[in-house]
Point group: C2
Chain length 346, copies 2
DNA sequence: CCGAGGAATATCAGCGCTGTAAATTTCAAG
DNA sequence: CTTGAAATTTACAGCGCTGATATTCCTCGG
């Protein structure tokens, strides 16, 4: 078949070679490659034979230059090894593959300059569209640097009117989570962690939902129940929660900003001799692998990541197809994955 | 500065536009863009001004077509959301960025056809090199489908003579891990999980190291201590270990094939009322986020992922530079991250 | 003041493919 | 057999940039 060695390294087979062998024009070969309908069966057959014989594979770069489409999308996220973003990358990757795109992953490492580079797009024509979860760059700046490449933003970082945006309703999701805890009769529900300088709105919105629920319920609303942290991550969570306990704070549930803080909670509570969920219930956010695999298994607010992926690609394809209206904002469903840490004993 | 709106959407600024404005040839502009040394200061200045004024950004695709280099590497892994691969992707991504490449992530989802596609490379000229951790495709087939794109393989899946290969010494690492447990006086050390149909060699090699250590030590070597599983993953691990305990197996330590199985162990042991590490020590493999964040914190064999990334890129750049010798195999260092699950009480 | 020799800049042919428009062939109807 | 419309196929000009190969411009020793 096509496993013949050409023996001429670096001597690629081009469209023209196929055309010559098949005795047709380059364009006809191109038409065959693209399944263009108006090609006679005999021609198609002859060309296909030539393609197989030569082992021809189209050169993507040349095609891109000629068409202006690259078939690639950039996914710009803070860190690929953070469980939530790894999950997200998987879903977006699968959805993109399904639709015929490839994904370039760009890690911004929460660096402002790196985020600017994503928007500014130092080079050009590399990708057809960009999916970007900003952390540090703000709304104004995105609007100002607004790229000509179609862009869809994720998360609560920035929400300029110029770009599309996909998120879940953080406040509502937080209330839903709180409802679960309240229904169990939990009354001293803490919030871990109120990240002091979260450049995004996420923490704020989740805290808002938490507070709204407390107000609407017959539960204790006490600033001491809100545990502040300096930054994101398990270690910050551990430090902060430990300090809070040492300072005398007492909880019968911990509503955590994300799964990482929830892992911190499990660690600290365990050390403090408190049982989960009997003494303290714990609820995370993001429903990452961490939640599924921890012991006890962590209950977690679960954004519908597949839906995020689908919606994001929908919006992006729209833009790539030429839509040029004002930024659209889509809210995607969430659920609560109930596991051990909010189980009702009995 | 350059934030002037051109107002002509889709009307890109090209090298020629800059050249015209600066009153020089395209080539000179190109030289300025590339910091070619032999350009007079005045010319350089004038050209740079034109670049800024027009907001010119080079078109990567055209450059690629002209040079034959894309500046992109493909990273083909089973699943980006598996903690180990997420970690790996991060390190390789960072190293690649450092060296001026971008990464295209290709998820094979452990699908044979998808793996074949990675090697066969349906299209061409998309990436300069490929980093690939195969799971199902075998050595012979890789050799047969051998692509003209430089290729470096990761892991123990396949090791054809035709491609470079980076791994850690699984047998030695397993022995090191066992030594740790043996030094603590553990004698009934189990192996979780012996994945029955692991298409790669990893499980086998780790089991081998486990067995070698047992033979060399004064410990119990009993087939009942080796817990077989149908497949990878926490759930398989849970099922298998639970069954083993039910069948009467008793351990004072569990050497786990990877962190996922270790998480399964923590879950099952907890349910069984066994304390970790007092009753049973647990050792994982891969040193993923799971290990760092679990409670108790999981000790784990820790491949030097940064070194893997570096070595891989070294080999790949070598190939991209034209090296065409027989496949080289590099072994990268490993360590043991000692945490709670192998702590000595005292 | 001339010519050598290096520095600075320019010319131009592609890289491999596709869109457009035009040419050619095919075929049913007249 | 024609003839015109539809079906196929082709020619060719780029897409935007760079490498190789000129060409022009200086500077300086003799």
């Amino acid at each position: 078949m096509s496993d013949m060695k050409s023996g001429r390294p670096g001597n690629r087979v081009r469209l023209e070679d196929v055309a010559k062998l098949a005795g047709v024009s380059m364009k006809t070969v191109s038409n065959v490659v693209h399944d263009y309908p108006h090609v006679s069966a005999t021609t198609r057959e002859r060309v296909q034979a030539a393609i197989d014989q030569l082992g021809y594979r189209p050169n993507l770069t040349a095609r891109t230059l000629a068409t202006g489409r690259t078939g690639m999308l950039a996914l710009a996220i803070p860190e690929i090894d953070q469980p939530y973003f790894a999950d997200l990358a998987r879903h977006i990757g699968e959805e993109a593959t399904r639709r015929g795109y490839r994904i370039i992953v760009e890690q911004t490492l929460k660096d402002l300059e790196a985020e600017r580079a994503v928007i500014r797009d130092r080079e050009e024509g590399l990708v057809d569209g960009v999916i970007f979860q900003p952390v540090r760059i703000d709304t104004m700046e995105i609007a100002r640097l607004r790229p000509d490449t179609p862009l869809v933003l994720l998360g609560e970082g920035a929400r300029p009117l110029t770009a599309d945006h996909v998120m879940i309703d953080n406040v509502a999701a937080a209330r839903d989570g709180m409802d679960l805890l309240l229904r169990q009769g939990r009354r001293r529900i803490g919030f871990l962690g109120m990240v002091r300088r979260d450049p995004t709105q996420s923490t704020h919105l989740r805290l808002l939902g938490y507070q709204e629920s407390l107000l609407a319920a017959d539960a204790i609303s006490d600033p001491a129940l809100v545990v502040e942290t300096d930054w994101f991550g398990v270690d910050d969570g551990i430090t902060a929660l430990r300090a809070a306990l040492d300072a005398g704070a007492r909880f019968d549930a911990l509503f955590c900003r994300d799964d990482l803080f929830a892992m911190a909670a499990l660690r600290v509570l365990d050390r403090a001799g408190l049982r989960v969920p009997d003494d303290v219930a714990v609820l995370g956010w993001d429903d990452t692998a961490l939640a599924r695999y921890s012991t006890p298994a962590l209950s977690s607010i679960s954004p519908d990541k597949a839906a995020i992926a689908r919606t994001t690609l929908d919006l992006l394809e729209d833009r790539m197809a030429g839509f040029d209206g004002v930024g659209r904002h889509r809210t995607v469903a969430h659920a609560i994955a109930e596991r051990d840490t909010t189980a009702v004993s009995g």
